[in-house]
């Protein structure tokens, strides 16, 4: 297992798609921070200001969450689907013929890269964000003081979102389809289903992937961060507790992973 993990670590490190995801995380996180500063000082966002409320400080520190929401699943998808896209799965299974071991190594490595991605966004917010905040009149300690409340949820959500992507990647094998399904679920299908559930069934559909991940990340920061507009938006918009969100998100990752393992991943490689 350790050999497989070491090999997968090198494999991921030498995969351009992973670095593209990491490269995108920087501008996206900066963009979110810009939006936070733009909205911090005035009702309509006409004035740039340092972050003033406790919630805004946590939102600033966790500004990378938005990029993680779709870049972490893509990283998970790439981890497995590139094997089929580049036909390297044959070599992988020749060197590690026990397939559960290969999948186990991929879970470990996906989680590892998800942690790195979360840490990267935190480095960006803790350096660029704090510097920017200080330039606008804020203080270093006011933002960094919230790290303990933001970091665990952000890392946990990143890991589970990446496993969610890995699960769908194992299930569908096709890279483009895997990315489209994962991102489409998080950003399109989920919004449609949530809106339909609210409008037609008057049901709070808060156990879909991004809301579940948001609950895990957002609850740590006492609401707001990660929860977006759902928090405090009425009786049908509250998020799950953080631990419920974590469990639901874990299921979103594990269920397709297990189904994929027993269907597509164990199939003959011809």
């Amino acid at each position: 297992m350790i050999n497989a993990v070491r090999s997968e670590l090198l494999k991921m490190r030498t995969m351009p798609g992973v670095w593209v995801c990491f490269g995108l995380a920087f501008p996206l996180t900066v963009l979110i921070m810009w939006a936070i500063f733009a909205g911090a000082g005035g009702e309509a966002g006409h004035t740039y200001s340092y972050v003033q409320t406790l919630n805004d400080r946590r939102v600033l520190l966790g500004a990378g969450y938005f990029s993680i929401t779709f870049l972490a699943p893509i990283t998970g998808v790439i981890c497995i689907t590139s094997e089929y896209r580049q036909k390297t799965i044959t070599n992988t299974l020749v060197f590690t013929p026990i397939r559960s071991r290969v999948l186990g190594a991929k879970i470990v490595v996906t989680a590892y890269w998800a942690i790195l991605m979360a840490l990267l966004t935190l480095v960006i917010t803790m350096t660029v964000g704090v510097f920017w905040d200080v330039q606008l009149g804020g203080s270093v300690s006011s933002v960094l003081g919230q790290a303990g409340a933001v970091v665990p949820g952000l890392i946990g959500a990143s890991i589970l979102l990446a496993l969610f992507g890995l699960g769908f990647g194992v299930l569908v094998k096709n890279q483009v389809a895997g990315i489209l399904i994962t991102i489409g679920t998080v950003f399109v299908l989920e919004n449609i289903l949530v809106a339909l559930a609210r409008g037609v069934l008057h049901y709070n559909l808060n156990w879909l992937p991004s809301d579940a991940a948001g609950a895990l990340a957002g609850a740590v920061s006492k609401g707001g961060f990660g929860g977006g507009g759902h928090n405090g938006g009425g009786p049908y918009s509250s998020l799950l507790h953080w631990w419920q969100g974590g469990l639901v998100m874990l299921a979103w990752g594990l269920v397709p992973l297990i189904i994929g393992y027993f269907t597509t991943f164990r199939r003959d490689v011809t």
């Binding site: 050999n3 090999s7 030498t14 020749v94 060197f95 013929p97």
Partner: protein, 317 residues
């Protein structure tokens, strides 16, 4: 041929056994009760036409395809049950199994890690396959021949006792094919077991010691090359003539078996030159060349795999 770093005794190879191996894809029988043993210290050719089940058989050996029945073992163990299998068995399956943006050395370090081998072996095997100067190049820029060599390097990373090669000469130029032939002989000379599948018979005839011939997933012949060819007394000749069409008519009229090999080349099977010569002379057919080949691997292969027996008359194509 560069020196191998870990020279061991000539008896280092392991036998590879296929025991009543079958594979069905739906209603299609890809491999049908295949049973044979590959001996160490010899190059064994695994021969059969396209679609005869060679690749499926090798993939079953390596655990990539699950057999419908039977089993394949290396040294008595299933591949997946061998601890650290790449240290026992090296496999060259397809020359496209690389990420194009990965460098050759990185690819080899990666497989070395997966197999639990020393990453320094990457440079050793690159040297061994003649790619030491391309270690830092991305595989995407490699020619097919270079990819084949890199795939061979991957297979050798664990210094295995058994080498499985599936159509390794695909995409190689004549120099590359000659190099591969010498390389396989060199590895077998060290006592390793070498099993190589191919449909390039003339090339295989110069390389292999033993042959296993399959058709439609079934074993047709096996043994040493000498024993297989000795079992066939049929003669095979090639006639080069500017009157190939008329020659075919004459052979057809005489009830002889023949194959049209080119616009001026006809293969004549199952008769001696003493019979063919007078026939051509009496019909005043101009000959540039009449070559007596005896019973060659190609004619045996064609008889065994085409379903067209020597007793039947071929038609000019």
């Amino acid at each position: 041929m560069p020196a191998v770093t870990t020279a061991e005794s000539p008896t280092r190879g392991l036998p590879v056994e296929f025991k009543d191996l079958s594979k069905h894809f739906g209603t299609v029988k890809a491999v049908d009760n295949l049973a044979f043993t590959v001996e160490p210290g010899r190059v064994t050719g695994f021969l059969g036409p396209n679609g005869s089940g060679k690749t499926t058989t090798l993939r079953m050996l390596l655990g990539l395809v699950r057999p419908s029945s039977g089993e394949a073992t290396v040294g008595g163990q299933r591949y997946r049950d061998i601890p650290n299998p790449s240290g026992k068995v090296g496999a060259v399956l397809e020359a496209t199994s690389f990420h194009p943006s990965r460098r050759a050395r990185t690819h080899l370090r990666m497989v070395a890690r997966a197999g639990g081998h020393d990453e320094a072996r990457a440079d050793v095997v690159l040297e061994l396959v003649g790619l030491p100067g391309d270690a830092k190049r991305k595989v995407g820029g490699f020619s097919m021949g270079m990819r084949q060599r890199l795939e061979l390097a991957s297979a050798l990373i664990g210094d295995p006792d058994v080498l499985i090669l599936d159509e390794p000469s695909n995409g190689l130029d004549p120099q590359g094919i000659a190099w591969l032939r010498d390389f396989m002989r060199y590895l077998a000379g060290e006592g390793r077991t070498v099993l190589v599948s191919s449909h390039l018979l003339s090339e295989m005839a110069q390389t292999i010691d033993n042959a296993v011939i399959i058709s439609h997933g079934r074993l047709m012949a096996q043994g040493s090359l000498e024993s297989i060819t000795a079992g066939y007394t049929q003669q095979s000749m090639q006639a080069r003539t500017p009157e190939a069409d008329r020659l075919c008519d004459v052979l057809n009229g005489a009830g002889m078996k023949f194959r049209r090999l080119g616009h001026d080349l006809v293969g004549i099977d199952g008769v001696k030159p003493e019979v063919v010569g007078p026939l051509l002379a009496s019909n005043q057919i101009v000959l540039y060349e009449l070559l007596n080949q005896g019973a060659d691997l190609e004619s045996i292969f064609l008889e065994l795999t085409s379903g067209l027996g020597f007793g039947e008359t071929g038609k000019p194509s």
